[in-house]
């Protein structure tokens, strides 16, 4: 029972921890792509962490803002819409596998909340509920811009859902299963057998429709600020707006996790199979902790040695020292511990857990990479016009997806 509760709560907490990081990444990424500095003012006792602290300031601002109800808005629907948006984004994570299943006392212990027989369909079903959050927000606000945003969202998401589901069929043919864990295991640890190589067209179509489904640029027509002010969430303020904001990033994480799982080997560490990881868990753990210590020392040394510049005349001037010294000390402690005690014996369970931790790290790295791609694209490409969006969805993407299904099935049948 406790394990089930933990399995449900831990992925949720992981998303919640990633959200502020992603918002920071978005702001910094946008800034550097546009040749600016990005958030660099908010500080706690002079510590700014390169702008991460700004997310905290944002949270405080959103909590203390006035919660406005527009006149004639439908209260119930107006209130429930952001909750639907957020809940849908979080629930999807239930079926995503985080690492290779552990073998414990003869039975497999899967590292995902539920190992559904219909895994990928569950994700599509929940994802198709996501449109309700945006639609109801648009309709319930009683505002013409919101309504237009809601209408666009429903038309766009339904159109691209077709391509999204069809582009996965090729992957399912190869894996012979809808379970996400089987799909990941089927891809193996060899980079060349990942689905991105076996299904390049399917991967491209999936990524493009994932952009459309998450309403990210170049497909962010539901909130196109140049035409619709902010689209479906124009009337929202305070924590309700925050929920929409968080839902957008949570959806991005889900989409990135799906792209990684379906096409980029999920939790597989490139070229290192689960068996290898488990056999060599002890030296790998030893050297990675050692490497972490060395990195921490190097980073700390770099920060501490920076010239002491008096720019702000307050605590911020000492930020490099405040961050640098602990990093240096932690790094030294890690190295000393590793050298003094040597590689610790891990045992059967320990090596499995260590291997799972590495796979989790690889998966998280892939997720963050694709989140970065989302941000990168957003600040690089302009927005589609609405008719271009529909033409692309129905006349280009859908036929290509159907072609992909037919060709993949033919290849699978004849070879």
């Amino acid at each position: 029972m406790l394990i089930i509760v933990l399995k449900i709560i831990i992925p949720f907490l992981v998303i919640m921890q990633l959200l502020p990081l992603l918002i920071w990444l978005e702001r910094k990424g946008a800034a550097y792509i546009q040749d600016r500095r990005g958030p660099n003012r908010a500080a706690i006792l002079g510590v700014r962490l390169g702008g991460v602290v700004h997310s905290l300031a944002d949270v405080v601002k959103l909590i203390f803002k006035e919660d406005i109800f527009p006149t004639n808005a439908n209260k119930f629907i107006y209130t429930i819409a952001p909750f639907i948006a957020m809940a849908v984004a979080c629930v999807t994570f239930a079926v995503i596998p985080w690492a290779s299943p552990l073998e414990w006392k003869g039975s497999a212990f899967s590292l995902q909340a539920v190992d559904l027989n219909v895994g990928i369909l569950y994700i599509f079903a929940i994802g198709s509920m996501g449109v309700y959050g945006i639609m109801l927000a648009g309709w319930g606000s009683n505002n013409k811009y919101s309504l237009l945003g809601g209408l666009r969202a429903s038309a766009q998401m339904i159109s691209y859902e077709l391509t999204l589901s069809l582009s996965v069929v090729g992957v399912l043919i190869f894996a012979g299963s809808l379970e996400l864990n089987t799909i990941v295991q089927n891809q193996g640890s060899n980079l060349l057998s990942w689905n991105v190589i076996r299904q390049p067209l399917g991967c491209l179509l999936f990524v493009v429709s994932a952009f459309a489904e998450t309403n990210r640029l170049p497909f962010d027509l539901p909130e196109a600020e140049a035409e619709l002010v902010a689209g479906y969430h124009v009337e929202y303020s305070s924590l309700k707006f925050a929920l929409f904001f968080m839902a957008e990033y949570a959806n991005m994480i889900v989409a990135s996790a799906l792209i990684a799982t379906l096409f980029f080997g999920g939790w597989q560490v490139p070229f290192v199979s689960t068996e290898t990881l488990r056999t060599y868990a002890q030296p790998i753990a030893y050297y990675s902790v050692l490497g972490l210590g060395l990195f921490s020392v190097a980073a700390g040394w770099f920060l501490v040695r920076r010239k002491h510049k008096v720019v702000y005349h307050d605590a911020r001037d000492y930020e490099t020292k405040v961050l640098g010294f602990p990093a240096l000390l932690v790094g030294l402690a890690l190295i000393a511990g590793q050298i003094l005690y040597g590689p610790l014996p891990l045992g059967e369970t320990g090596s499995q857990v260590a291997a799972a931790a590495f796979q989790f790290g690889a998966f998280l790295a892939k997720i963050l990479f694709f989140c970065w791609v989302f941000i990168w694209v957003r600040w690089t490409l302009p927005r589609f016009r609405y008719d271009q969006l529909m033409k692309l969805g129905w006349r280009v993407m859908l036929p290509l997806a159907l072609l992909n299904v037919v060709v993949t099935a033919g290849i699978y049948l004849w070879f």
Partner: protein
């Protein structure tokens, strides 16, 4: 009482209450939303009956696609409050409708409570997509293909109807 029974009662109550909402709420958007809740509750009931695939597909197609289009259309109409009048049925029509509904309810209840349905132990892979796919493409291939043709015909018909109107313009 075990967990499944509690879940069943919860989902069944949710389905009944929201289904009542579909016919009794005044605003069409609210009715359509109640229908969404009904369909999700029914999907939950399917899952408790081990028909995972059916439950998921119910959510995916009905709640996720068809009702989104319903609500899309209702939103496009953008009905104001004064346009929503009470539907004035006469007393005779109301009585007739009530009698028909009651009759339907009673006959369904009779059918369900009779032991007409053979009950046997479920096969191992009941409700899984493998067994479902096998059944669809072997024993039930003709009805399956016929349904496919029917849907294609409907799709082509819809496209033709939409196209003709454009040409008239």
């Amino acid at each position: 009482m075990n967990g499944f029974l509690i879940l069943f009662y919860f989902l069944a109550a949710l389905a009944v209450i929201s289904a009542t909402g579909v016919i009794s709420l005044r605003h069409p958007v609210h009715c359509a939303l109640s229908l969404v809740v009904t369909l999700i509750a029914l999907a939950g009931l399917y899952v408790t009956l081990q028909a995972d695939f059916l439950g998921i597909v119910q959510v995916l197609t009905y709640a996720g696609a068809i009702l989104v289009l319903f609500i899309f259309i209702i939103m496009l109409l953008n009905l104001q409050d004064d346009e929503l009048k009470e539907r004035g049925y006469g007393a005779a029509a109301k009585a007739l409708l009530a009698a028909v509904s009651l009759g339907l309810f009673l006959s369904l209840g009779y059918l369900v409570t009779r032991p007409h349905f053979p009950i046997s132990a479920l096969p191992e892979d009941f409700g899984s997509i493998h067994s479902l796919g096998k059944a669809l493409f072997t024993s039930y291939v003709i009805p399956f293909e016929l349904a496919g043709i029917l849907l294609t015909v409907a799709l082509i018909g819809a496209v033709l109807l939409a196209k003709r109107r454009l040409e008239l313009k």
